[in-house]
Symmetry: C2
Subunit: 321 residues, 2 copies
């Protein structure tokens, strides 16, 4: 029996120190919503446009010399892809990324520009897990999961360490409640470990709210067989993992689902009030607060997790009303 | 004869220290253009969405107690308005802002939200200078010019001090060439004082390139009688001042003009590559580099001076191609 390594708060702090050594903190911005100042963590401003760079760096730097020489394989619609490619390039490692054929063009181009090899697959008929596992085995490469991994969770949690320190420095006090976009739950689970005194609410697109339903049921439930279309390519995860679910469940995290029009309205708000380009999946937490599904409270931190958009779809989201 | 106070490098350094005490530095981002890493200073991420907060803070904090009690008056299409309103609010002062009736809605709303009184005028038939001067006289308030003032120029220059330090910390070395959007030239003149070893290129919209023509002629020339329409509301200055012109001219600054489509293309690039919402007037420097009108060189710094957009116009700019 394999003992799965569990992510720890010490690991998150270690990840935060490693990341602080190579990347400046992403800024936080404060805007009032219904009269309450809310802090926004702009992970959209990471070099690859998403928080995924954190987990990738923590994971890849933990590999030994032999493993580094054999390279890494990952599967992702784009943000994890770019995070892994960025970290691999910086460490001089080979990276192969399995990406769906319908991934946003900007994310595919960004991954290629970072020197990674991209292998395409059909989201409807093929299993990215199988393709990636086969590639990893053939090359002796390390498979880097996008969320079901202790290192990845710890790395993503560094965003919480950073934001907590920034909020205290800005006189806002420690975060009391964190609102986090959720695909597989890696970022949310990492933030649970990073901020032991904060309440956590995860937000997903309607129909893809399996973490919300799982937390309510106290049991992991997958998304339905025919989930609706969503602009949130980064959050189209069919099932969360016990690693992420258990951490969120033990903290009594709650889940919220938001609709596509609510997400577009949040993207417009972010452009107008924060002057930030936020991708649909990065804007779901903001959408939950703007709609009133989550009531703003003092000490609220909302994570804007990514900003990689295909510009035509983004222009349509801004124009829609 | 009135002796006009001249802005100085010491004044810029003083302004930078005052601003560092109340605002975190706006981030710089690095992206390659034609293979050359170019640094971007995201002044669009200031609390009011533009660098104007700098000059306003430096000017208003220099007023004595009596002057502070009588308040300030300014005229502006929006960014200087919000900068003055922000500084006045923070200092507990009254602010009256004269704004054109066609100013972007977001800028008017932002100014009102900061507690300022807004007085509207018709850009075509009325003189904002006269309206503002009359208001200032009637109230005993201090008129805060948007660029023709030593304090304002010194304050804006603090962006150059910050960016220079950030580029050196990031291993990019001191700025060798700075590309700056230009309305009245306050930001560009301040940066000349801040960075004595950098070449300066100012960029304006076509037909509003009076600083470019003035620098070529070595004499201040106004814009033509019927300048073309431009999306760059922040850069629609009819004539620069001798304070700003002289500083730029002595540094042998050069000017470049860019077209409206080139500006929209730069806004798209900033959204896609930097995940930043940049207003038309804030994107002209980037436009000049992307079009090749300015060749990227090592140590290049491009200032993205503002990010306040009306969302409908912004969506159209992103959709156009």
């Amino acid at each position: 029996m394999t003992i799965v390594r569990q992510p720890t708060r010490a690991g998150v702090r270690d990840a935060a120190a490693k990341i602080a050594a190579i990347l400046p903190p992403t800024p936080i911005f404060v805007q009032e919503i219904r009269g309450v100042p809310v802090a926004f963590k702009a992970e959209s401003l990471q070099p690859v446009g998403a928080f995924k760079i954190r987990g990738a760096w923590h994971r890849l730097t933990a590999l030994d010399v032999e493993a580094r020489a054999r390279g890494v394989v990952a599967f992702s619609s784009g943000n994890h892809a770019q995070g892994v490619a960025w970290a691999a390039k910086r460490l001089g490692m080979a990276a192969t990324i399995v990406m769906p054929a319908d991934a946003p063009r900007a994310k595919v181009e960004g991954t290629l520009a970072l020197g990674a090899e991209v292998v395409s697959y059909d989201r409807a008929t093929e299993s990215r897990e199988q393709i990636a596992a086969r590639l990893a085995e053939a090359r002796g490469a390390t498979l880097v999961p996008s969320f079901d991994d202790a290192w990845i969770i710890e790395g993503q949690g560094s965003a919480g360490i950073e934001a907590g320190a920034q909020m205290e420095a800005a006189g806002l006090g420690a975060p009391t409640m964190v609102v986090v976009p959720c695909g597989g739950g890696g970022l949310a689970a990492g933030i649970v470990l990073a901020l032991p005194n904060a309440a956590i609410t995860v937000v997903e697109p309607e129909g893809w709210d399996d973490m919300r339903r799982s937390l309510e049921a106290s049991w992991i439930l997958p998304v339905g067989d025919t989930p609706p279309p969503t602009a949130c390519d980064a959050l189209m995860t069919k099932q969360v993992s016990s690693l992420t679910f258990d951490i969120l469940s033990r903290r009594d995290a709650t889940g919220i689902a938001v609709g596509e029009q609510e997400i577009a309205a949040a993207q417009r708000w972010a452009a107008e009030k924060l002057r930030l380009v936020v991708e649909p999946g990065g804007a779901v937490g903001l959408a939950a607060v703007l709609t009133g599904k989550i009531t703003p409270v003092a000490g609220m931190l909302v994570v804007l997790s990514g900003g990689n958009v295909d510009i035509d779809g983004y222009a349509r989201a801004l124009a829609a009303r």
